[in-house]
Symmetry: none
Subunit: 405 residues, 2 copies
Amino acid sequence: MTDAPPPIAALMASAAYRRAVETLDREHDRTVADIITLTQIPSPPFHEQARARAYLDLLRAHGLADVEMDAIGNVMGIRRGTGNGPLIAVAAHLDTVFPAGTDVTVRREGTKLFAPGVGDDTRSLAVLLAYIRALDAAGIRTHSDLLFVGDVGEEGLGDLRGVRHLFTQGKYRDRIKAFFTVDSPDVETIAVGGIGSKRYHVTFRGPGGHSFGAFGIVNPMYAMAQTMLELSRTHVPATPKTTFCASVAGGGTSINSIPNEVWLDVDLRSQSVDELFRLEARFRAIVEQAVAAENHARATDTGMITAELKLVGDRPAGATAMDSDIVKLATAAIIAHGFSPRHEFSSTDANIPMSLGIPAIKIGSGGSGGRGHSLDEWIDVERTASVRGMAAGLTAILAIAGVAP
Amino acid sequence: MTDAPPPIAALMASAAYRRAVETLDREHDRTVADIITLTQIPSPPFHEQARARAYLDLLRAHGLADVEMDAIGNVMGIRRGTGNGPLIAVAAHLDTVFPAGTDVTVRREGTKLFAPGVGDDTRSLAVLLAYIRALDAAGIRTHSDLLFVGDVGEEGLGDLRGVRHLFTQGKYRDRIKAFFTVDSPDVETIAVGGIGSKRYHVTFRGPGGHSFGAFGIVNPMYAMAQTMLELSRTHVPATPKTTFCASVAGGGTSINSIPNEVWLDVDLRSQSVDELFRLEARFRAIVEQAVAAENHARATDTGMITAELKLVGDRPAGATAMDSDIVKLATAAIIAHGFSPRHEFSSTDANIPMSLGIPAIKIGSGGSGGRGHSLDEWIDVERTASVRGMAAGLTAILAIAGVAP
């Protein structure tokens, strides 16, 4: 701890900070109870309402100001600071990957809790509540206002719609100057970059006809083939890592018919906004060229080949600089609590503010866990490790928010 | 008509023949109603049972003898002749190319009927019934017995299994001495040769993996794409007509996965045994080269791309001599009705008897139509043209069957 930069060292040396951590520890059973309660409220993709309403009530009960559900279904409230700092958002996501009907009953074995979604990201929702209580009990006033958020749509086809709304439509969209997403238990992994993705479902259509009788007319299969093959020949940089994948394809009428419709799903990703933009533009050009090539290669008198591109996934890329305050201080805070953090790129709610140039990172909620996105998902809530991880995250947040003397 | 050879001229000059054609004309609305009824009974490949049962009932209602469904699903019955000629089969196929779930509702605009399968080959099924009624109404007795057949498996992967069964397993296999298949409206096209075809189902396999995490490994989709694209660039002669078609494709796990398996159906045809052999050899080389190219284009440390070729269709080529009675008399009959017939090679049920040396041709069911094997398939049932085409076909059949005085 002696190596911690002054803001971290001073914070951790303060009596108020010690009182806050004592509260996290003393109220740990309540935090575990909150984890269980919230986990057992199903929150499938696009159906987070029940859990959102429950969390809204909890935010209100924790004395936050301006508690509300926004138009997209995020719930949030403000813990006021002194007014001497910008607004800082601290979020955890309400949704799980599990469909409606999944058994979300929590099973406890010793210090382990087993249930779908228990670690990703329900534990974090409970930890945010623990932070509010700890700050209140310790009488800590931050310079910044803290906006606590339970957001929707982080997983899969949710496509980050909750945090996207927060930063593009929500009433705080121009005020949030730093963003923490607390996502899953692991404290040692700090996400400092968001991998962007664009996903397309492309439908190639043509007149179709008899394989022998109509031979010589355009075939959408060949436009799709050229699209896949040209995509496969696209140069992408290893750093920032940029990838493409022709993932799923289908279509056709019968073996003796020139098909009238075939389709292809493509996944494009990059650690870099610019590279993803380049790759997407190239992909769209490839489709256009492949369609034109087929329309010039064969007869079009019964109809032309067309392609319809449908964007079915859109996650922005972005990164927070390694020498930014949020990365430096969070890293120091986590080290100061005895952890060995790594920095990585991943796909989380932090993608959205990163893509907008707003300092943002993903931190962990503490404790340990595993088998995320599986029915065997589990977390370990053993108190010492759990509280130490929670304290590390709280330290990172307070270092950015600033603490009034 | 003055140029018609004696059997045609005599037949067409007879009162009985005129009565038969008058019946075709008078009952044309009933024939159109039969077309609509039968078209609206879905008959996907390998699932012709519902239409077969309906057609069986119609054959029985038309007074045929020995009406039955055989072991493979063909339905048939005999109209007895005088016993002074060999057995002659007159067939139309029950199956369509369209998969289960295709909307087969017939839409009528003026004299046009629009529906998948309406012309290929449902109209012909109804026309065979009209022939039986016309012969009965005219009191025509043929020398030969006529075996009327609604057969299965003409299209695609059906691989002519209905007529193959009829000639190799069925109880009439050694007795049928001439074969007419009535297939699609066009009366001016007489198929006197069977186009050979080779059909392949190719499965491309690879290790598969995460679209981002495993990026850089081989992807079977790209080997499939190169196969399709190189096939599309293959030069084939216009004469003897030789064709290829990448018809149906599928595969893949999810949009964020490199697939471990994709597959492709390909149809290769030629009027020439030699050209089909060349095209097949080229296709097999293309697959091999595409697999090798992908294995050299990306990493294979988690596994290589492989391709498995399965021959799923193998239709024999064959021909009926231009100076055979069936070709000469059918040609004369069609000319005598004011048409200008062409002789061609195609791939129809007639391939099977042709390959066995049994005189066989494909004739049309009358009227006009288009867009076969597409969802926009249509026929025109304008009465005058429709009846004239039907009469031409009936004349051809009667010329071969012989008419008792």
